[in-house]
């Protein structure tokens, strides 16, 4: 077989494997539904129509897909650079908080200045949250999986403190309800809606644009080349004159910035305030979306959409056939598990390919 045909077949297989994983997860889920005495066909029909069946469903799916995509393209950078970023959750939280802080407390009227400033704050905050584990890894060789997870906890408790103390909505105190959330952001910081009255906003466009930018950075510039080289073979990179720790730290810092931006987009575009658990597991599911997209920024676009669909459709499934909400989480968990397993299968496949060549 010619090398070209071989490569074509291999890339098809790379696309099929995650899709197959989803199907297998759904089949396993069907058995669980049967065990609950529910009709799987009805349940999955609800899942699909809930995700993609109407314009409203599609918009909801897009809104869910947006933060997944932003986190996912960051994960592409980090994983390609050989750094594992489990800290998406924390990075989203600090991104959301800092953008809200700018929106609430910086006395600038012009939205053309204020919104970029909000984004910048989120990028810096997320970057710091990713950069600290990055520097610890580069300088001291500390395992970034541990540090990013710890940074998640720090972010959550920081957020709890801020949302119950300094940043709490003054009206909550007046009314004595003391719900831990910020005040509604001023309207001039809301991202422009694309199809009012729906919540669809420019944040989604920004995410797709950034996916393209990240693609160009990773494959058309020297910076991306270095990140990929460092991830694939640190020894050869060092030999080639690349400063390996710097590019490892840079990769995870960029991942943190993009996750921070995801937090800002969620706040400015959809929620217009910050409350507890604003990250809504986007930080973890973004990893799955990136793996689904084969760690390619452009592949992550449809992958995020698919995964966003599963999240939205899952809600409808739950309402329609009346299963416990834990079922939907379990289903998503199954998809994650099988996608990761499939990833290992395809990595082994390519290793075998390399060995036999």
């Amino acid at each position: 077989m010619s090398i070209k045909a071989q490569r074509f077949i291999n890339s098809i297989i790379d696309v099929i494997i995650p899709l197959l994983a989803t199907v297998i997860a759904l089949i396993l889920g069907a058995f669980m539904l049967i065990a609950f005495g529910k009709n799987p066909a009805e349940a999955y029909a609800a899942l699909i129509s809930g995700a993609f069946g109407s314009s409203r469903a599609l918009i909801q799916t897009t809104l869910k897909a947006t933060p997944l995509l932003l986190v996912g393209i960051g994960i592409c950078i980090a994983f390609r650079g050989g750094v594992t970023n489990i800290g998406g959750e924390g990075q989203i939280v600090v991104g959301a908080l800092s953008s809200a802080a700018v929106a609430l407390y910086v006395p600038i009227e012009s939205r053309w200045v204020l919104i970029p400033l909000c984004f910048l704050a989120a990028i810096v905050a997320g970057g710091i949250w990713g950069g600290i584990p990055g520097i610890l890894k580069a300088r001291l060789g500390v395992n970034e999986i541990l540090t990013t997870v710890m940074m998640n906890s720090i972010a959550v408790y920081l957020s709890n403190y801020l949302l119950r103390g300094p940043m709490i909505d003054p009206r909550e105190i007046e009314m004595g309800t003391r719900a831990s959330q910020t005040a509604l952001l001023p309207e001039n910081t809301f991202l422009t809606r694309l199809a009012p009255p729906t919540q669809l906003n420019t944040g989604s466009l920004l995410a797709v644009l950034l996916a393209v930018v990240v693609y160009i950075m990773m494959w058309k510039t020297t910076v991306g080349y270095r990140i990929r080289a460092v991830g694939l073979n640190p020894d050869a990179s060092r030999y080639g004159g690349i400063n390996v720790p710097v590019y490892q730290a840079l990769a995870i810092t960029l991942a943190g910035s993009l996750a921070g931006l995801a937090g800002a987009v969620e706040v400015l575009g959809v929620q217009h305030r910050v409350f507890e658990n604003i990250s809504a597991s986007y930080g973890f599911n973004g990893i799955v979306a990136a793996l689904f997209g084969n760690l390619h920024p452009l592949g992550t676009i449809p992958a995020s959409f698919l995964f966003g669909g599963l999240m939205v459709g899952g809600n409808k499934l739950q309402r329609t056939v009346q299963v416990n909400s834990a079922f939907v989480d379990t289903l998503l968990g199954l998809v994650v598990l099988i996608v990761v397993a499939a990833k290992i299968v395809s990595v082994n496949r390519s290793k075998r390919r390399a060995k036999n060549a």
Binding site: Y225, L232, N233, A236, S237, R238, A354
Partner: protein, 528 residues
Amino acid sequence: MALNQKPHMAQHIRKLQMVDITKRFPGVLANDRVNLEVNEGEILALLGENGAGKSTLMKQLYGLYKPDGGTIKINDEAVEFHSPTDAINAGIGMIHQHFMLVSNLTVLENIALGLKSSRGPFLDLDVVRKKTMEICEKYKLIVNPDAYIWQLAVGEQQRVEIIKALYRGADLLILDEPTAVLTPQEVEEFFVILKKMAAANHSLIFISHKLHEVIEISDQIAVLRDGRSVSQERNVNLTKTDLAEKMVGRPVVLQYEKDSCPNIGLRLSIQDLCVNNDWDEERVSNFSLDVYGGEIVGLAGVSGNGQRELAQSLSGLRKPTQGKIMVNGKDLTYAGPYEHNLAGQSYIPEERNKEGIVKDFNISENFILEDHDKEPYSRHSFFNFPNITNKTQRAVDNFTVKTPNLNVMIKNLSGGNVQKLILARELERDPSVLIAAQPTRGVDIGASEYIHRRLLAQRCKGTATLLISEDLDEIRALSDRIAVIFEGRLMGVVDAAAVTTQQLGLMMAGIPRDEVKEQMGEAFAAIS
């Protein structure tokens, strides 16, 4: 067949035949109807280039792989080995290239390892000692049974491996490139042992690609090429040239015509250099050497005498603890690889797959590894792909790298082609200093010849080359001067044209040049 018999009950191997052995791996026919025959008391050399299928064939004989076709016969009876245990029980032993010894156990303990003790769960070293001494006596294998493995020289460790195999009743011994780790003197001692074993009616299969050794030691020579048997014949009147041609399939040049090139200026100067390994043990001690433009200086030495650490420090991958490295008059002692590149230095790394290439990058991406941030490959951080493609294509053509196109992942190329690409990358920059570490290790003769010619051509362009190699033939064929390293210290520098292998061997064993000179008198070719 007597698979279930106890080791010492196995019948003596008078004749071993491998008939029409075929072994397929997905996409590769590793062995294609290969035939081999060895009789008791004979040394059979198995000769072939890398990837010719020697190891695959031997792994089938040792029970590590199962043949897809063909039969193995012992004394004209077909046998089947499902695991190395079966092979050992049938009287077959294998000495691997990398020794299978536990370094913080003693010789006796290593021999006893895995044996059934006569005292149940308790060690019975006295029995082992008695039998070991008998074996040592019989074959004149001199080794201290109570020494720890880590205290032993490589040659001694090899003897322990042989004793281990003989202890387990091996009638037929497979030796995988046994001389690769030995000095010329050790090789001679080793050959004496081999001849003793053959005289005691053992059969030996000796895998090698060193032609002169094969001609010196073996009774029969079998040649494999591309997974097929080319020939098996008695070792009478065979010449190196014949054998090389059989291995490669075309006439091969073993000696190079060297034009004299004028020495032009000091390019690389190493002064009193000390380098530690990863565990902070000093591996290079007060090493000084100058290399001039237009010459190749060979660094000879037995594997593991500090060559690796020296090469890494010279290319900026390892920081010296003391001393000075000057490249073109610039002090680069503590500089990184990037500065070394900028100063016009190239480095062909010893472990090409680990350090030399990024396996999952394609040919072009690997080609620009060191210069990707410079014009014409990129400008303002953005790659100029047409330029990259042009330059890479030119280098690939120039250096006859066999590849369908430039988008192929480099892991899909053969070792020889990978090495040619690394060579292309390092030489296309027209370096003023080149550190070449084991440039032809694991590369077939055809590609080696090509690489050698390129290094010689570069010499005439005025490059100062430090050639670090464990292959003494290579060093002697290419070098103008030869420096010998032993335990990280320089034993001396000699004239390559005049020095003998024996003299180099003495220096490689740790005798400084001046002492060798005293022993040899006028016959010794030292450069003052």
